[in-house]
Symmetry: C2
Subunit: 271 residues, 2 copies
């Protein structure tokens, strides 16, 4: 994945001459066609989200806000019989997801994935008509467009669109997840810690047995992301898992655990 995750030779696996890039993930097990200088480029967030799915998962996952398909492909690359629906509302990004599935490097995976252009904030009949049927998925994962205030300087309209957080966004996304997932199906959300309250409130009465996993750059710094996993209609209480520290002290490289998770070799929740 981008420059953080070069291939075995140390070179970033990127096609040099195009307005899109072709980037290797999971050490070359799959490739992503994505905008080079525009839109939301996939990276560590998508890999962490995908790593929240248990390793023995074998059903169909819906990737809400799939972008070019990074998280969905990461799941089916790790879980050999799983299938993925890449749900993206932005036609320009969905086109990158289509190009990703059509790329010869991804032939095997593409047979287990499809792209759906749909607005996951729809409800009721319009949502079903958009292709998101009730009780259709075994797992829903989401990387909702959150308000990255640190990114405010960016002039790029596509990137802005992907980062603007509307009030009630988590409520709408998680409401749809609860509708389309099967009973006892799973949910995984990656977000900033600032979004914890709206996420937990949206889970209430829909998903239970929530597990929060904080992701910190280092052992002595505040979390930059949380991954929340929960189960539809489960009744267990919330737990706060041991955190993931991306880097060891004094090192710019990923810690061994972070590297394994980023490359599809370990799951975030130990299963």
């Amino acid at each position: 994945m981008r420059s953080e995750s070069p291939d075995a030779t140390g070179r970033p696996m990127t096609d040099a001459n195009a307005d899109h890039s072709l980037d290797a993930f999971h050490r070359g097990r799959f490739w992503l066609v994505q905008p080079r200088n525009a839109g939301h480029r996939a990276g560590m967030d998508a890999m962490m989200l995908a790593a929240a799915v248990p390793g023995d998962f074998s059903g169909e996952v819906a990737d809400f806000g799939a972008g070019a398909g990074a998280a969905g492909l990461a799941v089916i690359a790790r879980c050999g019989t799983a299938r993925a629906t890449l749900v993206e509302n932005e036609p320009a990004m969905a086109e990158f997801a289509r190009l990703t599935l059509a790329h010869p490097h991804n032939t095997e995976l593409a047979s287990r994935a499809r792209v759906l252009i749909a607005d996951v904030t729809l409800a009721g009949k319009p949502r079903a008509e958009a292709g998101l049927a009730d009780n259709a998925y075994d797992f829903v994962m989401m990387n909702p467009p959150f308000n990255a205030s640190a990114d405010r300087a960016t002039p790029d309209a596509l990137k802005r669109a992907a980062h603007v957080m509307a009030d009630g966004l988590f409520e709408a996304w998680i409401r749809s997840a609860a509708a389309v997932v099967k009973p006892r199906g799973g949910l995984a959300v990656i977000a900033r810690p600032q979004s914890l309250q709206p996420i937990l409130t949206a889970l209430k009465g829909r998903f239970g047995s929530a597990r929060i996993l904080p992701i910190h750059p280092r052992a002595d710094s505040a979390a930059i992301r949380i991954v929340v996993r929960a189960t539809r209609a489960a009744r267990g209480g919330l737990s706060l898992e041991p955190p993931l520290f991306l880097h060891d002290a004094g090192s710019g490289r990923f810690s061994p655990r972070a590297d394994a998770i980023a490359n599809g070799l370990a799951s975030l929740f130990g299963d």
Copy 2:
């Protein structure tokens, strides 16, 4: 504090022949008179809560649900000019707080503390009439009675009363905290991770710049407590701090950081 924190000789500092005990905290800087076999005995929770107050705090702290006064005394033992109001609704426990302040070992601290028997779930005029005036405190800390399902076996009525969690408990306690604390005053709450959603919802619109600090027994186990600190009417977002691990791997003793925090030698949030 109790057997986890014996004095320098290794003996628990407890009076042997009474239905109450006299227990040393902060390595003998203050002592607590508390029921030996009944009620809620103070321990690590109270010390962690007190450690959430900044070291340079010099105002008046209200300790909601003070019990025998452990957290309030821990704050004024560490913060040399701070004053504490120990707010306890259970007369039997408030009597222990009185005995604590009256004990000769605590003479200096007692001059900066008082006991108030009051129900912190009151609102409006009844709350003020109970002695909890609006805008009266610089900091409110609370260890609300949470439902310790692991303790269900206990037959003790007092302990049960301290552990029963009513719906809306955090809403009521935090509503009162917001009323009695001064503008820009502080709040600290210790609770189980399961209570995160009601806590964050109760903070909304009242306290901002919340900082959550998870407390784990060890680096590889889920958190058993959270301490949440926030500021009245502040507008900052939530942060998720690096966790505290109570024990190092393979050790039954407190880690150096946990020991320092338990003994009033370090603050939980590094200030």
